[in-house]
């Protein structure tokens, strides 16, 4: 399990950033929509930039804006933080799956780099890891690039709400889910994946149907992981 050839190089960071370029339209569109929503909700420009860059977790920001009310009371604060935690619960699992790789790197490097952990750079990096790449610059570079693009895209969205009136017309909303599907294809090896994904899909579907929201990611992923762990080839 222990691998000694884990490295971090500038080239790896650049490679990670380059891998994000085809996904930028999806990130920019989502960031701009967030800027527009923030402006409509009455956030000042500084507030919109701060929440967007510091939280850096798209879905949870949108849900938090749904429950935002001006002025913020203690109740609003608790609800906003609570929904953020619920939506981002999946990060626990995403982070856990990076352990075999980043566990070889000194903690003073990994813990700061986890600030930039998103679904996007996580799956990009894992795909590289699967191909035998051990340069974790791919993870860091793609994380930093995504953060920079995300942070900047809120600005035009905030000031020109109608710039992309409806991202759906251009199909921008399917870029990220399509990317996830693309990443799923090379992960398939055989029966173990089929069963694990089926279990994940059924549990996620039932959870979504019963409680809705983002809990289905959590329950489905845990069920799928257990199925994978207890299924012997």
């Amino acid at each position: 399990m222990l691998e000694k050839n884990v490295t971090l190089s500038f080239r790896g960071c650049v490679q990670g950033a380059a891998l994000c370029i085809p996904l930028s339209p999806g990130i920019i569109a989502l960031g701009m929509v967030f800027g527009t929503v923030a402006a409509q909700k009455g956030l000042t420009f500084l507030e919109a930039v701060l929440i967007n860059s510091l939280v850096f977790a798209g879905a949870s920001q949108f849900v938090a804006m749904e429950v935002y009310n001006d002025p913020i009371t203690w109740t609003t604060l608790i609800v906003m933080v609570g929904v953020t935690a619920a939506v981002n619960m999946r990060m626990l699992l995403i982070g856990a799956s990076l352990r075999p790789w980043l566990g070889q790197v000194p903690s003073r490097q990994t813990y700061p780099s986890l600030l930039f952990l998103t679904d996007l750079n996580w799956i990009l990096a894992l795909a590289q890891y699967d191909k035998g790449n051990r340069d974790w610059g791919v993870f860091l570079g793609s994380g930093l690039f995504t953060w920079a693009v995300w942070s900047l895209s809120v600005i035009p969205g905030y000031f020109a709400g109608g710039l992309i009136s409806d991202p759906k017309i251009f199909g921008l909303d399917v870029i990220l889910p399509a990317f996830f599907v693309a990443m799923l294809v090379p992960l398939w090896r055989g029966k173990r994946q089929t069963v694990s994904w089926l279990v994940a899909g059924i549990v996620a579907g039932v959870t979504w149907w019963l409680v809705g929201g983002y809990w289905s990611i959590f329950t489905g992923a845990i069920a799928g992981a257990f199925a994978g762990a207890y299924l012997d080839d």
Partner: protein, 108 residues
Amino acid sequence: MTDGAFSADGMFLLTVTCMALVTYALRAGGYWAMGRLPITPRVRRGLEALPGAIIVSTVLPIVLKGGITVGLCLVVAAAAQVFLRKEYVTVFCAAAAAAAMRQAAGLS
């Protein structure tokens, strides 16, 4: 906008700080916990199954919410990935399929 663009409400700053802290705790927490857990073959297989299970559980509700159009686009994406094996071609095909289908639905 009654306040200046570069002002920020104190309570808002506190909320954002708490949101950021909670999110970082989740980003780092799972990674941290895995370092405290002995990685047995069973745990390792569970970790290996995790990425695929997370993706399936993330995408499925998107399809359930997005309906037939989104579902078809993701079928296009899967097919493109299986045959062409290029992620950027895949996302382009899916976006183009979505744009075309919505255009067609709008015209009819």
